[in-house]
Symmetry: C2
Subunit: 371 residues, 2 copies
DNA sequence: TTGAAAGCGCTACCAA
DNA sequence: TTGGTAGCGCTTTCAA
């Protein structure tokens, strides 16, 4: 393929091609970027010769430098990619985002924001991207600051709330309140809450009021606030509702964190898990403890991820439109990249989806399924 | 923050900073790239002033052009990101890859290789990446060709086999043979196979010998060949073993594809699903058909993805070291980027992991669990 | 419709 | 230890 008469193989560039054809470099550039700037015939000739020589078109980096655009949007995810992608909710959301960005030929450049490693920030600061999407990170995470240093357009999903930065959010408090209200309506009074991490310190176990108030994951602060107000509206004192924090937002961690809460005389009859991933963990822990769901224990999740309907039993959960929100992130990014200043989007609506993981209290008789 | 005396706010560059400090641009560059080329004191001064001015360091694109490196590795996935990432096997693999690349500060630039759209190829060809990783794509996929046009280092996972291109593979035939052998050893004689797509045409249903032979997904060709040889070694004629093709590698599609195979007098007593995703679909379809697994139907999967052990029942499956393979891809990419020519890696070992989705034939008596 | 020329911002070589 | 300088390959005015 590489037919170059003189044996050498100089890197193919616009200039090489132009000289080969005896025309100007600008014209070759136009063949790729502004077809209307030259005759169709000439353009054909150029493209044909390019194919012949194996020239793939203008160099992406040089073009990027000149135009100030690379065709990539950075995505900052909390912790490793592994945990992020093993959450079906994240996957759905990313899918919506990717689809929307595809319209402009933009790819997704993934970077994990490991908080522990100061040196891991450089790759983020030095990433060649046109914009950043921050996917649900805690307050004060250094990776977010690193992503901001270039002053590129930036959009946040859920958290952190940053002044002047478009946020694609939902009404977390209302969602959590709906979950609690549902459990209360089913007659439950001994409630429990399984929370996602409140801070990125991997702490696990009971989370008192102080810990709750100090949450740097704002989503959790909002959801707990919503849950609290719903509980108190029903006359339940929030400080008597056990809140257990999971070390991570995955089923294993959730099961581990909640295990201790499930036994004992005053164990909750109903649990609000702040994500479907955690709810899955509750299901697992309940099974391990010999509890039937929903007969012995009612569970409500949050997200309505694709795992929710096929869980066993199918999860009653708070639905948020994940794919749409991903798309909305993409719409915002595209607008920002066009130089527009889109209005701050409204929080997306959430609502309870009733399946079969929550039932009236005492509906299954005593918990005698053990052993 | 943007303190610029003369009101204007010219884009901050190395030169700006250099002039501000009354030193040369090269020295500022060195402060970032070769700390040993200047005194620690001067470097400190430069960095401090940069922070003061809000200069984030050398521009990634300009640096990319100059160095010929952007710090991103392209990842080409088949179809949309959604399907790719909803497969736990892919997620584990990507996690291994990302971790390995992180050592060099490389991010992952995701691009979906939609075969249908000729214009969708430009973003791939024009992506600013230092290398490409092709994740299990079919023969002749135009996106792979697009990724190759820049002559950047390229590494393939599983398929397609490309001359001169490092391939990180496994012994697919041996894995499939082990699965079939296991079922045969359990006494099963009426076998069936649920295949991943054989071609990217979303065809679903029985796949005859011709279709099997024409598979452009080489992984499937290899696995079917392995299965066939194991079957024939036991005296079973392969053309009597029903092979059903799924339209996609996900549980839903798998359940849909296999449903018809599960009923009838001569329905298989054992099924080899060519991926865990598909095996999950079989489990679902079996339940829908009132069949108990493994009593009425034995199932063996492939991958040992993180979904396998927690399936109900836990999947007997062929294990491949996903995370390690992801890491190996990363190792190869890094070596290639260093200009080395690493030896073609050995196929990773696979072996059967026996859990409880496969049992001796007839072990559960007649299939009387229906209704 | 085509071409000439001016940088985009940076790094790496070489000289001081 | 510091600085001058030559491009990396391209796009885009502007003029022909």
């Amino acid at each position: 393929m590489q037919k170059h008469p003189d044996g050498s193989s100089p890197r193919l560039t616009l200039l090489t091609l132009a000289q080969d054809l005896g025309i100007s470099r600008a014209t070759v550039s136009n063949a790729y970027n502004r077809p209307d700037q030259l005759s169709a015939a000439l353009r054909e000739r150029i493209l044909a010769r390019a194919a012949e020589l194996g020239f793939a078109g203008p160099d992406p980096m040089a073009r990027g430098l000149r135009r100030g655009r690379v065709g990539a949007v950075g995505v900052l995810v909390d912790e490793g990619l592994s945990r992020a992608f093993s959450d079906p909710a994240v996957v759905d959301l990313l899918d919506g985002l990717a689809r929307e960005l595809q319209a402009d030929g933009l790819g997704l450049l993934l970077h994990a924001g490991r908080a522990d490693d100061e040196a891991a920030l450089r790759p983020i600061q030095d990433a060649a991207v046109d914009a950043w999407v921050v996917l649900s990170m805690p307050d004060g995470h250094p990776a977010v600051a690193a992503a901001r240093t270039r002053n590129r357009p930036l959009v946040v999903l859920d958290q952190p709330v940053l002044p002047g930065v478009p946020l694609v959010g939902i009404d977390d408090a209302a969602g959590a309140a709906a979950a609690i209200a549902h459990l209360l309506a089913l007659g439950h009074r001994r409630l429990g809450v399984l929370a996602m991490p409140l801070r990125p310190d991997r702490q696990e176990g009971p989370a008192g009021l102080a810990r709750q108030a100090g949450a740097t994951y704002q989503v959790m602060r909002r959801r707990l606030a919503g849950a609290a107000s719903a509980a108190e509206a029903a006359g339940l004192s929030w400080d008597r509702v056990p809140v257990v924090e999971s070390a991570a937002n995955d089923p294993d961690a959730g099961a581990r964190a909640v295990a201790g809460l499930l036994t004992g005389d005053d164990a909750p009859t109903a649990l609000f898990a702040c994500s479907d991933q955690l709810a899955l963990g509750v299901l697992r822990a309940a099974r391990a403890a010999g509890l039937r769901v929903p007969a012995d224990l009612s569970v409500v999740g949050f997200d309505d991820s694709s795992a929710a309907p096929s869980a066993d039993p199918p999860l009653t959960t708070v639905r948020q439109p994940l794919r749409d929100r991903g798309r909305e992130l993409g719409v915002l990014v595209r607008a920002l990249l066009r130089g527009e200043t889109p209005p701050a989007p409204e929080p997306a609506p959430v609502h309870l989806v009733v399946r079969s993981s929550a039932a009236p209290v005492g509906g299954g008789g005593a918990a005698d399924a053990r052993g």
